[in-house]
């Protein structure tokens, strides 16, 4: 199996695992999220958004919990084996419907995963075939999506004042919403975050820097997960890391798992 196929397969599995854990953590809140939703109704959706809102458009309003259970089943299937494209399409539609209904609970991680689930409909892992230009579209869009997220958030931070003057992390750490402050917050840490996010989109194109930046990213996201409590968003980003996993690492894993490698790619 090719390195690219391995990475795509890992990505698909991790994506569904994320979805599975998200659903399991959301089910105790199903009453407020979906059954008697707390989030105000979204406005007139239009044709495309109406398709994504689902409930009350092409699905009965009271079907949220059965849909969540069906999505749980799809997530289990996708986490352990390849699924047909139509299950991928339903997974995306159901996730969109549930997250639209509970939009007050959404964050950047939710939106990232909606995009990932859309493009994953078109991902395929078929070791017997070469990847043609069209089959590379979803893979490249997903890979670039990660870089875009870092670049934009870095540029947005440059647009303010507190990240450049080094006070931003102090403000976050002292915010009772995200605290308690456990890390020694220094201006250097602010600049390191800024530097990491702005340089990530360039650093991942070369082998040695890719390894260092991916490792730094793992530390960064685990930090935001367990220090700031933004767990779902942190792991959503880490799922995307699998598409940038270094070839040497893939080869090593394949050797360890005794999978025959036929070629390297991208």
């Amino acid at each position: 199996m090719k390195a690219l196929d391995i990475r795509v397969m890992w990505f698909q599995r991790a994506l569904h695992l994320w979805l599975l854990v998200w659903l399991l953590s959301a089910l105790p809140a199903a009453e407020w999220l979906w059954e008697h939703p707390v989030s105000p109704e979204l406005g007139d959706p239009g044709i495309v958004s109406g398709l994504l809102h689902g409930f009350g458009v092409w699905m009965p309003s009271g079907a949220a919990v059965p849909v969540a259970i069906a999505l749980l089943l799809f997530a289990v299937i996708g986490a352990f084996k390849s699924r047909p494209w139509w299950i991928g399409a339903l997974t995306w539609l159901f996730f969109c419907a549930l997250t639209d209904r509970a939009w007050l609970a959404n964050n950047g991680g939710t939106w990232l995963m909606r995009n990932a689930l859309f493009w994953s409909i078109f991902l395929r892992v078929d070791p017997s075939k070469e990847h043609g230009p069209l089959s590379l579209v979803p893979i490249q869009v997903l890979r670039l999506q990660l870089l875009l997220a870092y670049a934009i958030t870095g540029l947005q931070k440059l647009h303010g004042t507190t990240w450049t003057d080094g006070t931003a992390l102090g403000i976050i750490a002292s915010d009772p919403t995200y605290g308690p402050s456990l890390l020694p917050v220094t201006p250097g840490l602010c600049w390191a975050v800024l530097l990491f996010q702005l340089t990530f989109p360039l650093a991942v194109w070369w082998g040695p820097t890719r390894i260092v930046w991916l490792a730094a990213g793992v530390v960064f996201h685990l930090g935001t997960a367990f220090w700031l409590g933004i767990v779902d968003m942190a792991f959503a980003f880490l799922v995307f890391y699998l598409l940038w996993f270094p070839e040497e690492g893939v080869a090593w894993m394949m050797r360890s798992l005794r999978i025959t490698s036929t070629a390297n790619t991208t």
């Binding site: 953590s25 959301a26 105790p28 809140a29 407020w32 999220l33 008697h36 939703p37 707390v38 105000p40 495309v48 994504l52 509970a102 007050l104 609970a105 964050n107 950047g108 939106w111 990232l112 909606r114 995009n115 859309f118 043609g132 230009p133 069209l134 590379l136 579209v137 490249q140 869009v141 670039l144 999506q145 875009l148 997220a149 670049a151 934009i152 958030t153 540029l155 947005q156 931070k157 647009h159 303010g160 004042t161 507190t162 990240w163 003057d165 006070t167 931003a168 102090g170 403000i171 976050i172 750490a173 002292s174 915010d175 009772p176 919403t177 402050s181 409590g229 933004i230 767990v231 968003m233």
Partner: protein
């Protein structure tokens, strides 16, 4: 039949346009020409919506906790530590939508949509009964050099609905 390399360039162009539209949609507003911004909104919002503004351009200077009044001097947060994390997040986002990341006015006036949301979170305490009161508790940084110094402030909430 179109050659493989010809198709490749169509694909490169399509991927580049998609990413460019996402960039125009998520970049700081002042950096994107108005017309391009409109195109990006039409393309991105229905299916590919995303935002990358967490703690950017600056982290919020105020935290805002919404509370329900259970008696003359008794209150509790709309969502506490015992609630599922997505319920806590909804309570947090409600505070953000009501402008709680900046100093609030002396009285916070809340529209019908968000009133329903707030009452829905505390329906176990009779939150749907019209008589129940709410307040916001804010802790704002007044000097970014001393962010841990956050004086607290209670802001009464009044609903716009009669």
């Amino acid at each position: 039949m179109r050659s493989r390399s010809g198709r490749k360039w169509y694909v490169v162009f399509a991927v580049a346009m998609h990413i460019a539209m996402l960039a125009a949609y998520t970049a700081p507003e002042e950096w994107v020409p108005a017309r391009v911004r409109l195109w990006s909104q039409a393309y991105v919002r229905p299916v590919f919506h995303q935002t990358w503004g967490l703690f950017a351009p600056d982290p919020p200077l105020c935290s805002c906790e919404l509370r329900v009044l259970l008696g003359p001097s008794v209150s509790r947060p709309l969502a506490g530590s015992h609630d599922p994390f997505l319920v806590r997040r909804m309570a947090l986002q409600m505070g953000h939508y009501l402008g709680g990341t900046r100093p609030l006015p002396d009285t916070l006036v809340v529209d019908e949509r968000m009133e329903g949301a707030m009452r829905g979170l505390v329906r176990d305490t009779g939150g749907t009964e019209l008589g129940l009161g709410f307040q916001a508790v804010q802790y704002c940084v007044d000097d970014v050099a001393r962010p841990e110094h956050r004086p607290g402030r209670i802001v009464p909430i009044r609903f716009r609905s009669p």
